[in-house]
């Protein structure tokens, strides 16, 4: 029994040290407020991304790359360029999904689940989901140069997809650098944002949904 407790304590310490020191109280609120201030000051975002999906069943990774554009007012373009072409554009209540073989335009209001997924994507990139107390319980960690937010979904349908979502922020810029989504099955999706440009002009055409 003592041995089990020792192992459990060691695992807890190891897991905490990987994410940094847990922050609570006023310090936690200050971190979330700093991220929130940055999020609300972001009028546009543009970056490259690398997505690494770890498939537990195959013990293998699936790596894809692409570009992301975001503009205040609910506009998001998430485009995969390699090894497949796929475009997701969200503009207000309309979403376009386009692959080589198919193009669909969906009204997010008609699909509750789709609406929630789109909301998570958008709010994760900006960091706005940290203040979404209704949908997530949030634990904050401080790791010096980086802050980590671990989000536990409160809603059952989201919990069925993601056990938790881990957002890493640059402490200096209070902006997201990477997103990790962990599923119940043990699969993880890790998205690393690179060459991030904020508040630069973005061509409105990239958000066209027709």
């Amino acid at each position: 029994m003592r041995f089990k407790l020792l192992i459990l304590s060691l695992l807890t310490v190891m897991s905490c040290s990987a994410q940094g020191r847990q922050v609570q109280g006023v310090a936690r609120d200050n971190m979330i407020n700093a991220i929130g201030r940055t999020a609300s000051s972001i009028r546009s975002l543009e970056c490259d991304f690398t997505q690494t999906k770890h498939l537990q069943m195959l013990n293998d990774n699936m790596v894809s790359r692409g570009q992301m554009y975001y503009k205040q007012g609910g506009k998001l373009r998430w485009e995969y360029l390699s090894p497949y072409n796929y475009i997701f554009v969200m503009n207000g209540n309309k979403v376009m999904l386009k692959s080589n073989k198919r193009k669909d335009i969906i009204d997010v209001r008609s699909s509750k689940l789709f609406n929630e997924i789109a909301g998570i994507m958008m709010n994760s990139i900006t960091g706005q989901c940290l203040s979404d107390y209704h949908n997530f319980a949030v634990i904050m960690y401080d790791n010096g140069d980086e802050w980590t937010a671990v989000l536990f979904p409160r809603k059952k349908d989201i919990r069925q997809m993601f056990q938790k979502i881990v957002l890493t922020f640059s402490q200096r810029r209070a902006m997201v650098t990477d997103v990790q989504m962990i599923e119940k099955s043990g699969d993880t999706t890790y998205i690393k944002l690179k060459n991030v440009k904020s508040n630069t002009p973005v061509n409105e055409k990239v958000f066209d949904v027709d």
């Binding site: 997505q51 999906k53 498939l55 069943m57 195959l58 293998d60 699936m62 894809s64 998430w78 995969y80 090894p83 497949y84 796929y86 997701f88 999904l97 692959s99 080589n100 073989k101 198919r102 669909d104 689940l113 997924i117 994507m121 349908d157 069925q160 997809m161 989504m181 599923e183 119940k184 099955s185 699969d187 999706t189």
Partner: protein, 146 residues
Amino acid sequence: MRKFLTLISLLFMLSAAVHAQSAISFGTDGRAQYSLLIQYKKAGITGVCMMKKDSSNIVGSIVNEFGVKAFDFRYDTEKDHIKLINVISFLNKWYIKKTIKADWRYLFSYPNKHSKSRAIYFSKDGEITLDNIKQGIKYSFKKIEE
């Protein structure tokens, strides 16, 4: 005339050899990655299917382009048995799983299994289509070159 008959026989043999290939091709490392389009009536969803083959099993995962899992599977090549694992809630119904299992068993056992309600087509651009004629479901696979 004899030459002509020989030529015809050769062509038939070649054609039979082409059709004897299994539908899914795996690399030397046992991996295969395909883009996947599933169509049912006018609706359709796209995703990625990643598979690995060893001496007696094919294991695979179907995810959408964002990485959201639809389901995992394990196909026993010796017993011709398939098990679906980690099925997303909206597909986790017995009648849906029954159809998926039967379709994928047909895909992996091709060309050894005959079916009146299912067919597999190969297009010139390398696309493979599994057609569940009875239920109107089409699965189109296109190899992803990494």
